[in-house]
């Protein structure tokens, strides 16, 4: 199992919060390494979250959730 993390967007403020804006890959879907999983936003800066490996994606956070950078948002098994 590999965790999918909310990426570190703000280096200045490691505790910065952001929004899990969009889940492109649905809960329980099969993903291939490098696939677009989600998009997050911190202070109007968007960043894509890509699949760290191939497998089945489980969501651990809801779309629209406000989270601290580095939070586990899902896993691929």
């Amino acid at each position: 199992m590999t965790d999918v993390l909310f990426p570190q967007i703000s280096q200045k403020d490691p505790e910065a919060e952001g929004t899990l804006a969009t889940w492109f890959a649905e809960d329980g879907s099969a993903v291939t390494e490098g696939d677009l999983l989600a998009e997050v936003a911190v202070d109007k800066v968007d960043m894509e979250v890509l699949a760290p490996c191939s497998g089945t994606l489980s969501h651990a956070a809801e779309e629209g959730a406000v989270l601290v950078q580095g939070t586990v948002i899902g896993s691929v098994t």
């Binding site: 929004t19 804006a21 969009t22 492109f24 890959a25 649905e26 696939d35 677009l36 998009e39 997050v40 936003a41 109007k44 968007d46």
Partner: protein
């Protein structure tokens, strides 16, 4: 016998779908390139070109100065010499400074040259309001472009159509104005409608320009609309289905060419027509559609045509006034209920 296999898809928002379509055409054809304000490092202010600079380099993804006449003129010149430029006018509202290039040159060179010179380019531009950007950054203006002969005008409402229409626009030998509403892009920092994210076919995917789609079939009333208003119309149709009103929603997808046949076919079944248009009401698309139906056969209509458009005022900055002017779901619902006599 042909075997139809279902094409694999992946979920994208409209912005990413457009970028993928542009990238695929840039891979396929070295003549395709992108230019405009902030299309490079910034990736387009509504994310219409994100990542293209990294993938294709500064010779094919060119940031320009704030000089719309200059860079749109440059695109026209490149197109007449055989390139296939995609040039971005950041907001359609800025057309005023560069309209001579657009409607006297881009749109007329093919005609003026007796058909000898083609202008195969895409002019893409952000349209629409709803986020308090004021009177000079919130207009749709597709009726203005459609009024002037010589340009195709494409207005997608969802990711799959945006990708397929962009591919068709790039391959088209005519100038195509590609108008994307900021509210259908699916951007995290804008109010996001779930219909802005959806499955997009992987691989070859072309949507023919000039064909409307029917995202919802119904028998009581036809709602003819386009762009972000398609999302609102579908939301309202879902709501009214519970009240026993069966709404058909027609997504025009392009207004030049306008799929008159699809409009007539639908209205001939429902007998009732509501036109929802985020452009100004007078002298525009909604009047044109009404005229085409009446020219074909006014007997098709069992109730007067209803129009839900922007009244003839500049789009206000104030949120409450802006939403009084825009074709909101509440206004669409009221018009549908009037049309069906409820």
């Amino acid at each position: 016998m042909t075997t139809v296999t279902e094409q694999p898809t992946r979920r994208l928002n409209t912005a990413k779908a457009m970028v993928e379509a542009i990238a695929a055409e840039m891979e396929r054809d070295d003549n395709v390139f992108v230019l405009g304000e902030d299309v490079g490092a910034y990736g387009g202010i509504f994310s219409s070109t994100t990542g293209l600079l990294d993938r294709f380099g500064p010779e094919r993804v060119m940031d320009t100065p704030i000089s719309e006449t200059g860079f749109i003129g440059a695109a026209i010149g490149a197109a007449t010499e055989g390139m296939r430029p995609i040039v971005e006018l950041m907001f359609v509202d800025f057309f005023g400074v560069c309209m001579d290039q657009i409607y006297n040159h881009m749109a007329k060179i093919h005609f003026e040259s007796g058909g000898n010179v083609t202008v195969p380019m895409v002019l893409m531009t952000a349209v629409g309001g709803g986020y308090s950007d004021g009177a000079q950054h919130s207009q749709c203006l597709w009726g203005t472009f459609a009024h002037l002969p010589g340009m195709k005008v494409v207005v997608p409402s969802n990711p799959a159509d945006a990708a397929g229409l962009m591919t068709a626009a790039i391959r088209d030998d005519n100038p195509v104005v590609f108008m994307f509403h900021k509210g259908v892009m699916g951007l995290p920092w804008m109010k996001k409608n779930p219909r802005s994210i959806g499955p997009v076919p992987i691989g070859e995917h072309v949507v023919e320009i000039g064909k409307a789609a029917t995202p919802r079939s119904g028998s009581d009333v036809t709602v003819v609309t386009l762009s972000l208003s398609v999302h609102h119309a579908l939301d309202v149709a879902d709501e009214l289905a519970g009240d026993g009103v069966d709404v058909e929603v027609l997504d025009l997808r392009s207004i030049v060419p306008l799929d008159t046949d699809a409009i007539i076919e639908s209205v001939s079944r429902t007998g009732r027509l509501v036109i929802v248009d985020e452009d100004y009401q007078s002298f525009g698309l909604s009047g044109e559609i009404a005229a085409r139906v009446a020219e074909h056969d006014p007997g098709l209509l069992r109730a007067p045509i209803r129009r839900v458009a922007v009244p003839d005022v500049p789009i206000p900055y104030s949120r409450s006034l802006e939403y009084a002017a825009l074709p909101t779901p509440a206004r669409i619902k009221a018009a549908i209920l009037e049309a069906v006599g409820r």
